[in-house]
C-alpha cells in the first residue's frame, strides 16, 4: 500500500443557519495516497466541492466553515492551521485546478505572468530560472510553442489550452497533492479525453496524489484508482474503482450507476417511412459584423441539409461551435437565416414575415437547456404554460384547464400551478418547460440539450418522460445534445455536426457499429468510460 499523503478524519463542514441542512458534509473519512487518483463523486449539492476547498482553507468563510474533524497533511492539521502556514502550502505542496478554465485565469495578465507568480511567491529563483521552469512546465502539458503561450492572454487560448495552462500552474512546484474540481466538465468530449490523459500521465510521472471531484461516472471509470461516493454530505461508499463501479453495494451508488445511459444502441426499430415533417435545405448562417474597416465573421451553418420524419427522433450531435444549437434555432425560426430553405410540412417558412410566422410558431415548440434561465421568474407556473395557447386564441379559462392537465402529464402535482419557478428543482423546472412546449400541441419538439444541466438520476427521469410523451402524442423530435450516451438512448437517427456541417447521418445502431466519418469515430472514442459498461456486461 502506497504512502498516505492526506487524510480526512471525521471532517464536518458547517453551513450557515437557514441553509437546507446543518452541515454541508458530515464525518467524512478519506485517505489520499501517493500516486493514486481518488475520485470524489456526487450529484450537485452533495458537498463535494466544499470538501475540496476545505483542504486548502478556501471555504467561503465566515458563512461556511469547518465544524469539526481533522485534515492531516505532513503531520499538520490543516483544519486549524493559521493563514500564513496555509499560504505556504497552497500552490507549493497542494495544487488545485478548477472547473471553468474561462474564468479561473485573470483576464488581464499573460499566462506566463500568472505561472510566474507561483514561483515568485514560493521560491527565491531569479527571473531567468523562473522563466525556464515556466517554459518547462508549459511544454510538459503539451502546449505548442511555449514561448508564445507565455506571452498570450487567456482569451487568446482555447478552453482546453487554458485548462492545460492551469494544470501547468498547479504542478510548477511538484506538489504532493493535486486537487481537481470538475476540471473537464466545461470542456468538449474530445478535449476532455485529452485532459484526462494528461492528468493521468503527469500524475504517474511524479507520483502525485490526485483528488478528483466529478459527477460523471464515465470520467471516474477512466481515471480513478479509488472512488468515494458522496450523497447529500454523507460518504456512502468508498473503495477501489473496479469494485465500486463493478459491484456497488450501497443502494445510492447502484441507482446512480444504473442511471448512467449505456453506451449501447437501442434495440433496432422498424425503419420510419413516414413523410418528412421538417426539411432543411442548404441552410446557411453567419454571425459577426462586417464593417467599413473589416470585421470578424463566424460561419455557424455552412449549407446544412437534413430531414426529420414524422414520429421520428433525430439527434443532432457535435461539440461546442459545431452549429447544432444554431440549426435548432433556425428550424424554430427563432433565428433568421442567411440562405436556404426550411420546409415545415412541405411549406417553406424561412422567408415568412413575423406576422405570417405567427400561426406556424405553434407547430414547432422548443425545450431549452438551462432550466433556471428559461422560465420567467415572475410568472406563476400555470400562466407560464397557458400563455402560449392564450396568445393563439384559446380562451384563458380553457387554456388554464388544459395547463392543469399538462402538469399531470409531465408528472407534477396539481398544486404546482399556483407556485413560482424558483420553488422548483432543476428537474421539475425542465418538466415545466416540457409542459409549456406541449401546451400548443406542436407537431415538432425541438429539445436543445434538455438534460445536460441536470444530475444523472434526474436526467434519466426527464429522458424517460420525453420518450413517453413522444410516443403518446406522436411527436417528431429534434434532439440536440453533446452527450453520445444520451443520443444513443433517445434517438432513432443521429446527425453528427462539425464546424457548421453535417458530416454524417445514419440510424443510431448503424452509426454506433459502423461510423463512417473520422470525426464520428473520434467522438465515440472520446466518450469517457467508453468500455467500462461493456466490461461489466461481459
Amino acid at each position: 500500500m502506497s504512502q498516505t499523503v492526506l487524510e480526512l478524519e471525521k471532517l464536518t463542514i458547517a453551513l450557515p443557519s437557514g441553509a437546507d441542512r446543518a452541515n454541508a458534509v458530515s464525518d467524512i473519512d478519506l485517505v489520499l495516497r501517493a500516486g493514486k487518483v481518488t475520485c470524489l463523486i456526487g450529484e450537485s449539492g452533495s458537498g463535494k466541492s466544499l470538501v475540496a476547498r476545505s483542504i486548502l482553507g478556501l471555504l467561503p468563510r465566515p458563512h461556511v466553515r469547518i465544524g469539526s474533524g481533522r485534515i492531516l497533511f505532513e503531520g499538520q492539521d490543516l483544519a486549524v492551521a493559521p493563514q500564513d502556514k496555509m499560504r505556504a502550502i497552497r500552490g507549493a505542496k497542494i495544487g488545485m485546478i478548477f472547473q471553468e478554465p474561462m474564468t479561473a485565469l485573470n483576464p488581464l495578465h499573460t499566462v506566463g505572468r500568472q505561472l510566474d507568480e507561483v514561483l515568485r511567491i514560493h521560491t527565491s529563483l531569479g527571473r531567468a530560472a523562473r522563466r525556464a521552469r515556466v517554459l518547462e512546465l508549459i511544454d510538459s502539458v503539451h502546449l505548442p510553442e511555449p514561448s508564445r503561450i507565455i506571452r498570450s492572454f487567456p482569451h487568446q487560448l482555447s478552453g482546453g489550452q487554458r485548462q492545460r495552462a492551469m494544470i501547468a500552474m498547479a504542478l510548477l512546484l511538484n506538489p504532493r497533492l493535486l486537487i481537481a474540481d470538475e476540471p473537464t466538465t466545461a470542456l468538449d468530449v474530445t478535449t476532455q479525453a485529452q485532459i484526462l490523459y494528461l492528468i493521468r500521465e503527469l500524475q504517474r510521472e511524479h507520483g502525485t496524489s490526485v483528488l478528483f471531484i466529478t459527477h460523471d461516472f464515465g470520467v471516474v471509470a477512466d481515471i480513478a484508482d479509488e472512488v468515494a461516493v458522496l450523497q447529500r454530505g454523507t460518504l456512502v461508499e468508498r473503495g477501489a474503482a473496479g469494485a465500486v463501479l463493478g459491484a456497488p453495494t450501497h443502494p445510492y451508488t447502484k441507482a446512480l450507476i444504473a442511471a448512467v445511459p449505456k453506451l449501447v444502441p437501442p434495440a433496432p426499430r422498424p425503419a420510419n417511412t413516414q413523410p418528412f415533417i421538417v426539411e432543411a435545405r442548404d441552410v446557411a448562417k453567419t454571425y459577426g459584423t462586417r464593417g467599413l474597416f473589416g470585421g470578424r465573421v463566424t460561419l455557424a451553418l455552412a449549407g446544412v441539409t437534413m430531414e426529420l420524419r414524422r414520429g421520428e427522433t433525430l439527434g443532432l450531435v457535435g461539440e461546442s461551435g459545431s452549429g447544432k444549437s444554431t440549426l435548432a434555432r433556425a428550424i424554430t425560426r427563432l433565428l433568421a437565416i442567411d440562405g436556404g430553405e426550411i420546409l415545415l410540412g412541405g411549406t417553406d417558412i424561412a422567408q415568412l414575415s413575423r406576422r405570417q410566422l405567427r400561426p406556424v410558431r405553434k407547430r414547432v415548440q422548443m425545450v431549452f437547456q438551462d432550466p433556471y434561465a428559461s422560465l420567467d421568474p415572475r410568472q406563476r407556473i400555470i400562466d407560464i404554460i397557458a400563455e402560449g395557447p392564450i396568445i393563439h386564441g384559446t380562451l384563458p379559462g380553457k387554456a388554464r384547464e388544459e395547463a392543469q392537465a399538462l402538469l399531470c402529464l409531465v408528472g407534477l402535482d396539481a398544486s404546482a400551478a399556483k407556485r413560482f419557478p424558483h420553488e422548483f428543482s432543476g428537474g421539475q423546472r425542465q418538466r415545466i418547460g416540457i409542459a409549456r412546449a406541449l401546451a400548443l400541441h406542436p407537431d415538432v419538439l425541438v429539445a436543445d440539450e434538455p438534460v445536460s444541466a441536470l444530475d444523472v438520476s434526474v436526467q434519466a427521469q426527464v429522458l424517460a418522460l420525453l420518450a413517453d410523451i413522444k410516443a403518446r402524442l406522436h411527436l417528431s423530435m429534434l434532439f440536440v445534445t453533446h452527450d453520445l450516451r444520451v443520443a444513443l438512448q433517445v434517438c432513432d437517427r443521429i446527425a453528427v455536426m462539425k464546424q457548421g456541417e453535417v458530416v454524417e447521418v445514419a440510424p443510431t445502431a448503424e452509426i454506433f457499429f459502423n461510423p463512417q466519418h473520422s470525426y464520428t469515430k473520434a467522438l465515440f472514442a472520446a466518450v469517457p468510460g467508453g468500455t467500462w459498461q461493456d466490461r461489466k456486461a461481459s
Partner: protein
C-alpha cells in the same frame, strides 16, 4: 504598430462627428429668426435698408447658403470662431482666456473625484460591512443626494463668512500681485471650494461604483486561483482585483467627464470663477450667439477628445479589447 493603426482609425472616425457638430451649429444659426445684421440694427435702434445690405455684404450674409456654409467650415478649420459684438472681442481669444481656469477646475475636481472615489470604494469593499464600510456608504449617500450649488453656498457661509479661512469667490486675490509660489498658493485657496462642490457628487458615485466593482471581482474564480497559489490577500487585491475592478470605472468616468462641463457652469456662477461656464452663462443671457456656438463647438470637441482618451486607456488596461 497595431496601436498606431487603431489610433489612426479612431481619429478618422472622429472627423465625421466633428463635421456633424459644425453642420448642426451652422443650422442653429440659420434657424434662428433674423440674422446678425438685424440683431445689430435692432441694437442700434434704427437702420436704413441700405445700411442693412451693407452689413449683410460685410458679413457675407448675401451669399448663397452653400457658400456661407463653406465659409463657416473654413473659418472653423482655421479656428476662426467669429467675433463677439457684446464683449467687443474675438471669440477665440475670449475662450482661450477662460480655458485655463475652467481646465484647472475641471481637472482638479475630476482627478479628486476619480482618485478619492477609487480609494474610498476599495477601502469600503475590503472591510465589507465593517464600520469603515458603513461610514463611507453613509457619507457617499449624503454627498450623492446633495446638490453641488447648495453645498457651495453652505461652504461659503461656513468657511468664508463664518470661519474666514477661504476666499468667497474669484480666481485669485485681485490686485495682490502675488508671484511664484505665493500665486500658486493664492489660486489654490480660491480653488478648494469650487473643486469640492463640483467633485463631491462624482466622488460619491465612484466610491459606490468601485465598492460594487471590487466586491464583484473578489467573487471571481481567478481570485480563488490566486488564493490557491498561496498569494497574500493584499497582493491579490493590488495585483489581481484592482485592475479588473477599474474597468467599469474608466467607462463611466469617461462618459461623465463631459457632464463636468455642464456642472461647472453652476459652480462657476456660484463662486464667480472666471471660466467657460460663466462665459457661457453670460453669453446665453445676452444672446451672444457667436460666442455661445463657439462654446458649444468647443465643448463638443472636448467630449470627442475625452472619449478618445478613455478608449485608449481602456485598450491599455484590457488586453481583450481587439484593436
Amino acid at each position: 504598430m497595431r496601436f498606431a493603426r487603431y489610433m489612426g482609425y479612431r481619429l478618422v472616425t472622429a472627423l465625421p462627428v466633428i463635421l456633424g457638430i459644425i453642420v448642426l451649429n451652422f443650422l442653429l444659426i440659420h434657424l434662428a429668426p433674423g440674422d446678425a445684421a438685424s440683431v445689430l440694427a435692432g441694437e442700434s435702434g434704427a437702420a436704413t435698408p441700405e445700411y442693412m445690405d451693407e452689413l449683410r455684404h460685410k458679413f457675407g450674409l448675401d451669399q448663397s447658403l452653400g457658400m456661407q456654409f463653406l465659409t463657416y467650415v473654413s473659418n472653423m478649420a482655421h479656428f476662426n470662431l467669429g467675433y463677439s459684438y457684446r464683449n467687443d472681442a474675438d471669440v477665440s481669444s475670449l475662450i482661450i482666456e477662460r480655458l485655463w481656469p475652467t481646465s484647472l477646475l475641471m481637472l482638479t475636481a475630476f482627478g479628486t473625484a476619480v482618485a478619492l472615489g477609487i480609494i474610498l470604494g476599495l477601502v469600503a469593499a475590503t472591510g465589507r460591512n465593517s464600520w469603515r464600510d458603513n461610514i463611507i456608504s453613509l457619507i457617499s449617500l449624503v454627498a450623492y443626494a446633495t446638490p453641488g450649488f447648495w453645498l457651495g453656498l453652505m461652504m461659503i457661509v461656513i468657511f468664508s463668512i463664518g470661519l474666514g479661512w477661504l476666499p468667497t469667490s474669484g480666481f485669485d486675490t485681485v490686485g495682490a500681485g502675488h508671484e511664484g509660489w505665493a500665486e500658486v498658493w493664492d489660486v489654490a485657496r480660491h480653488l478648494v471650494m469650487p473643486a469640492v462642490s463640483l467633485a463631491l457628487f462624482y466622488l460619491a458615485l465612484y466610491a459606490r461604483l468601485m465598492r460594487a466593482s471590487v466586491l464583484e471581482q473578489t467573487g471571481m474564480d481567478y481570485v480563488t486561483t490566486a488564493r490557491a497559489k498561496g498569494q497574500t490577500e493584499r497582493r491579490i487585491m493590488t495585483g489581481h482585483v484592482l485592475r479588473n475592478a477599474l474597468l467599469p470605472i474608466v467607462t463611466i468616468a469617461g462618459v461623465q467627464a463631459g457632464n463636468l462641463i455642464g456642472g461647472s457652469i453652476v459652480v462657476e456662477t456660484v463662486f464667480g470663477w472666471p471660466g467657460i461656464g460663466t462665459l457661457a452663462f453670460n453669453a446665453l443671457q445676452s444672446r451672444d450667439l457667436n460666442l455661445l456656438l463657439a462654446i458649444f463647438f468647443m465643448s463638443a470637441c472636448l467630449i470627442v477628445i475625452i472619449n478618445l482618451i478613455v478608449d485608449v486607456i481602456y485598450v491599455m488596461l484590457d488586453p481583450r479589447m481587439e484593436i
